[in-house]
Amino acid sequence: MADALLELEDVEARYGPVKALNGVTLSVGEGEVVAVLGANGAGKTTTLRAVSGTVRRAGRIAFAGGSISRKSPEAVARLGIAHVPEGRGTLTELSVRENLRLGAYVRRDRKGIREDERRVFGHFPWLERRGDQRAGTLSGGEQQMLALARALMLRPKLVLLDEPSLGLAPLVVAEIFRIVRELNEQNGLAVLVVEQNATLALEASTRAYVLEVGRVAVAGESEELRRHESVRRSYLGY
């Protein structure tokens, strides 16, 4: 990992008096898809929130060589980290097109934004047809795709993807992961994905971390982890 894009070292985070991370150390390389697995309450979501600055955190977090451990969420987004939060973070009161425009809010390159809009419509053709529809009226799967599309409009270097499969039909989930893989292969997009569905996450990622009570319990190549005895038993169910 000579050129890690994102590095967390001994990161702690708390919600009020409750400590959610007890010193997490992990990294995401350029163009890498990394998965974070773990039971409910292990700190998966909090790990992403620590990166994007939506939870109080301590420890070292570096992105593209600079420290971001004290940066606000809006400053982190401006550096090119797009966080697709659990529950999707779609702006339900706004139209589909407004959601996409907002995704590109911090960018100034009109031409690039139009290009990316076309690219996003290439991945999600139905978005274009339904541009004027209020995002809140979309189905769960559509909102998840819109949230991802909105994240891509930032032209991010790294996407933080939180539980993309939550509450969605298997076909929709497969579609979302296919698109993530495509983006990674075509554009070298780095992705840090948190996922309950370990089978899916290990298929989509090159490396993975398993969290237990707020710290990394197991780490390694996704291939390896799939054969790992305790990971298999605890998270893959066979």
Partner: protein, 300 residues
């Protein structure tokens, strides 16, 4: 019951009602802006508008024309609104609603006191923005001032709408109001969007104050207190969360209050304000969301 109903009078009184309603609408919009972004009714909105009106008076007093003072005052009020948010509201941004309400009440007395301290308590006048001559439309005489007030109010509201609907910052401000968390994640500086909302609200309030004052024979520091109540009633009638509702509600209220004052003898001029209060009470009892608000059920 008179045999021939006086349609001319009805048309005239309706336009007069629309003129007041339009002025209330600009202040009602200010209330809605703050309510949507900060989550409270800004009790100081009227006093801030009064302060703006006194600034306009000072500018006119120093030789500026009404319209030059009008636009300069809007700019100053915008900056002052932003400053008020940064200094007074920002420290309580995350505090409970009641705390923020009390801060706006404090602001009410602060602004009122400051205006009394700066400007001596004599009565003042602001020149008429429009000719007071009547104009003949289809055989009915209307006052140019009333039509002008309707035009300026609607123009101000329209410009605000264009800003929110068609500019990037406007979009970000809307997003920040409905979903601050998700807005932060796309890089919107939510806290500054709040300040922007206060600035715009102060600017809209300035418009309402500067349209209110010339119609009065003279005005003092209590100028905007009834206007705030009417604006609040209009906003509640339309739905306190809906900008369109605030405008329609204020216009309806303006016409209603004026017609009922004209045609119901015992209400006349004296009981107009209680009528507005009755409207607030009635709406809150019968349809708390207002005409354009979403009926009951809030997202949780």
């Amino acid at each position: 019951m008179p045999l021939a109903f006086d349609w001319t009078q009805l048309a005239q009184q309706t336009v007069i009602g629309l003129a007041s309603g339009g002025i209330w609408a600009t202040l009602a919009i200010a209330l809605v802006l703050i309510y949507r972004s900060t989550g409270v009714v800004n009790f100081a909105q009227g006093e801030m508008a009064m302060f703006s009106t006194f600034i306009a008076w000072s500018l006119v007093h120093h030789g500026l024309s009404y319209w030059a003072a009008f636009f300069l005052t809007i700019a100053i009020s915008f900056a002052a609104g932003v400053a008020v948010e940064r200094t007074v509201i920002r420290p309580v941004e995350r505090a409970p609603v009641l705390t923020v309400v009390i801060v706006t009440l404090g602001l009410f007395f602060l602004v009122n006191g400051a205006a009394r301290w700066i400007w001596s308590p004599e009565t003042r006048t602001l020149p008429n923005a429009f000719s007071t001559r009547p104009i003949d439309v289809a055989g009915v005489a209307f006052s140019i001032e009333d039509l002008g007030n309707i035009g300026v109010s609607l123009a101000a509201v329209g410009l605000l709408w264009l800003f929110f609907q068609f500019t990037k910052v406007g979009l970000a401000a809307r997003a920040a109001a409905v979903n601050p968390e998700a807005s932060r994640l796309v890089g919107v500086r939510v806290s500054w969007m709040l300040a922007l909302g206060w600035g715009l609200a102060a600017a809209m309030g300035a418009v309402s104050g500067m349209l209110t004052a010339p119609a009065l024979a003279s005005f003092d520091q209590n100028l905007m207190q009834p206007v705030l109540l009417y604006a609040f009633a209009g906003a509640v009638l339309g739905g306190i969360e809906s900008p369109l509702g605030a405008v329609v509600g204020s216009l309806l209220l303006g016409v209603f209050v004026n017609l009922i004052g004209t045609y119901v003898d015992w209400i006349g001029n004296a009981l107009r304000l209680p009528v507005a209060l009755a409207v607030i009470l009635g709406v809150l009892l019968v349809r708390p969301g207002g005409l354009f608000g979403r009926a009951a059920g809030r997202r949780v």
